[in-house]
């Protein structure tokens, strides 16, 4: 049953990560990308922020400090996830146990990658984000209601933006590839309307 897979609420400790423009090179450094699987990326996630050159944990980094070692939500700076298209960044965050990032803006490819992997990216106003950064810094638990598009943390209760398609995909845990193939007829109809010069054929 589809309903059994439904995920409507995300709840947990949130870590504040206020840096702006956190790029996917920082989220997943390139030395972890030389792989043909999606697995084994948890250690690579934020590796240069989490670990020093000798591989020891940096004690001052938020995810290395209690209670945020348990964080499953991040409250992040503007333009999070910019740069490279590498989906490894999202795979790694999921493997590290991150279920949601709350921010004011996300890079487009990162946003789409997140949706494909069940990582929720609620978009809030800068004022709400700053309040949530504060709450997260105090170790507050945050609740994200995906169906109601609301975030609560202590006294804070704020709406968030999320387009309907992303919201549906996240709640249902839908496989977009299989779902789109249900429209195979429409794709064939479109192709039937293409003139022959509009059908690309690459020389091998």
């Amino acid at each position: 049953m589809k309903d059994q897979q439904m995920k409507k609420m995300i709840k947990g400790i949130a870590a504040p990560l206020p840096l702006a423009n956190v790029d996917t090179d920082v989220i997943m450094p390139k030395r972890f990308l030389i792989t043909i699987t999606r697995e084994g990326l948890a250690d690579g996630t934020f590796a240069d922020l989490r670990f020093d050159n000798a591989g020891g944990p940096r004690p001052d980094f938020i995810l290395n400090k209690a209670p945020w070692t348990q964080a499953n939500i991040l409250v992040v700076g503007d333009n999070f996830g910019c740069g490279s298209s590498r989906e490894h960044a999202v795979w790694g965050m999921r493997q590290l146990g991150i279920d949601a990032c709350i921010g004011t803006s996300f890079a487009g490819i990162f946003y789409d990658n997140a949706r494909k992997n069940g990582l929720a990216l609620p978009i809030v106003s800068p004022e709400t984000r700053d309040l949530l950064l504060q709450a997260a810094g105090n170790g507050a638990e945050i609740t994200i209601d995906l169906s109601g598009r609301t975030i609560t943390a202590g006294d804070i209760r704020a709406p968030f933006e999320m387009d309907a398609a992303t919201q549906t995909a996240l709640i249902r845990g839908r496989d977009d590839t299989l779902d789109s193939l249900e429209h195979a007829g429409a794709i064939r109809d479109y192709e039937a309307g293409l003139k022959s010069q509009m059908r690309v054929s690459v020389i091998k």
């Binding site: 206020p18 840096l19 702006a20 423009n21 790029d23 090179d25 920082v26 450094p29 390139k30 990308l33 030389i34 792989t35 043909i36 699987t37 999606r38 240069d48 050159n53 503007d78 333009n79 910019c82 740069g83 490279s84 298209s85 590498r86 989906e87 999202v90 803006s105 996300f106 890079a107 487009g108 490819i109 789409d112 990658n113 494909k116 992997n117 387009d163 309907a164 398609a165 549906t168 995909a169 496989d175 977009d176 590839t177 299989l178 789109s180 193939l181 429209h183 195979a184 429409a186 794709i187 479109y190 192709e191 010069q197 509009m198 059908r199 690309v200 054929s201 690459v202 020389i203 091998k204």
Partner: protein
């Protein structure tokens, strides 16, 4: 009704609306590389799916390969390269691998092969796919799950973006290149300023650019967050379509691939071409740049504590002091290459500066032509001889190389690189490496001076 070029392209490729608000759009041409596609192929296998239309894809090896020779430099990179080849063999997909005379950086190879045409929709698992907007084509980067989606359906789920026009009118000064134009746009609009937008570049400064310059502009549009970048097709575009191996094989007509005169954009930005100077980045985000004649910012330039803290963090990583003059920044390495600036036109510009000059003592200088065809052309024109006489290392194989350091070209902790690439992120060119972005001619000037330098001083 008046439409923007972007809306015309989306309308022409819409397959159907989906019940949840997305639409399906048709992908005319899809490009893959060895590092963002393996999990897409294994996804197909896991779901028991076939490739929808095998001839509409091209796979190129470019991200992890060594550029000193056409042999992989280690087992891990060999695994990725071999994996791509076997996936392509299995699914009957065109593969331009190491040793193939057509191999190179994907966004250099595609126009060289005549595979981009105005009106086309192109997707690729690489953020710099915005490059194809230079041809009036809709190109954009996708993640690996979307690579799987294109392979299986020849479509993508899509949401229409908002539109932004960046108008750059007026003649640019001598020494100012396409790279400086786009770096100026990134500086003005900001690193995330175009998130959610498709950006069209217009104005006389853009129209006067050749195709290589237009590609540089559209390539780096992703650094302002643009998911798509566009320049209207014109006679310069038409001329560039001739003479390639795929020329004349396809055409996307029935539309004029420019915005209607009355089309309305959601946002407009205007920049005076004459105000643009040669720029260099000083920080760790592509919007952190200053004219080469200027200084690194000081804390009092900023109002908010957040901005002051960001400045301090960037300067600490970059090993710079507030207010330091840009030209006082000494470099260890000069790198010319990447999908932004490794085309023959870029190599010619750099060679003009290097001719009769020498790379400064202590500076390691590397040039990686964008493709095998570019390299051969450059060698025939005598550019290799100029680079080598100046002291540059001329790489015999093409690839992304030190732009993102996924091969064996990795800058060391603290190493400072003058780079013709697109991203100055922390760790981009190696853990602790310090990147300064600039035009290829400015990299050449810096390599000779031993520090960031003004190309206009090299007559």
């Amino acid at each position: 009704m008046s439409r923007t070029l972007y809306d015309k392209l989306v309308d022409a490729h819409k397959v159907c609306d989906l019940p949840d608000g997305d639409m399906l759009i048709y992908v005319d041409f899809h490009i893959m590389n060895e590092y963002t596609s393996p999990q897409a192929f294994s996804g197909l296998d896991a779901k028991g799916l076939d490739v929808w239309r095998t001839e509409a894809h091209l796979a190129v090896v470019d991200h992890v390969n060594a550029t000193r020779s056409n042999e992989p430099h280690d087992k891990a990179s060999k695994l990725l390269i071999d994996n791509l080849e076997s996936n392509c063999t299995k699914h009957d997909i065109a593969f331009y691998g190491l040793g193939d005379p057509r191999q190179g950086i994907e966004h250099v190879v595609v126009p060289e092969q005549g595979l981009v045409i105005p009106g086309m929709l192109i997707a690729c698992g690489d953020s710099h796919t915005t490059t194809y907007g230079a041809y009036g084509a809709l190109g954009f980067g996708i993640g690996t799950s979307e690579v799987e989606h294109v392979l299986a359906t020849q479509t993508l789920r899509y949401k229409r973006m908002k539109t932004m026009r960046v108008l750059i009118d007026g003649e640019t000064a001598p020494g100012v290149t396409a790279k400086d134009i786009i770096m100026k746009v990134v500086q003005v609009v900001g690193a995330g300023g175009a998130n959610g937008f498709a950006v069209e570049f217009a104005g006389s400064a853009v129209r006067h650019l050749d195709m290589a310059g237009r590609m540089t502009v559209c390539n780096m549009a992703v650094e302002l967050g643009a998911r798509a970048a566009l320049i209207a097709a014109d006679e310069v575009t038409e001329a560039a379509l001739q003479g390639h191996s795929h020329s004349g094989r396809f055409a996307f007509y029935g539309e004029s691939w420019h915005s209607d005169p009355e089309a309305v954009f959601d946002n407009e930005v205007a920049i005076a071409g004459g105000d643009i100077e040669p720029l260099v980045t000083w920080g760790t985000s592509p919007d952190q740049s200053v004219p080469i004649t200027a200084h690194v910012p000081v804390a009092s330039d900023y109002v908010s504590p957040k901005a002051k803290a960001a400045l301090a963090r960037s300067l600490n990583y970059m090993g710079l002091t507030e207010g330091q003059s840009a030209q006082s920044i000494a470099i260890d390495t000069a790198f010319i290459g990447s999908c932004t600036n490794s085309r023959i036109e870029d190599l010619r510009e750099a060679a003009k500066i290097l001719e009769g000059r020498k790379v400064a003592v202590g500076v390691e200088a590397i040039v990686v032509p964008g493709s095998a065809m570019t390299r051969i052309k450059a060698e025939a024109e005598g550019l290799r001889a100029i680079f080598e006489a100046a002291g540059f290392e001329w790489r015999p194989e093409a690839g992304c190389s030190m732009c993102l350091a996924m091969n064996d070209d990795i800058a060391m902790d603290g190493e400072r690189v003058a780079s013709s690439t697109n991203r100055n992120f922390e760790g981009r060119q190696g853990r602790g490496a310090r990147t300064h972005l600039m035009s290829p001619a400015m990299v050449a000037a810096a390599s000779v001076a031993g520090h960031l330098a003004d190309v206009r001083d090299f007559k």
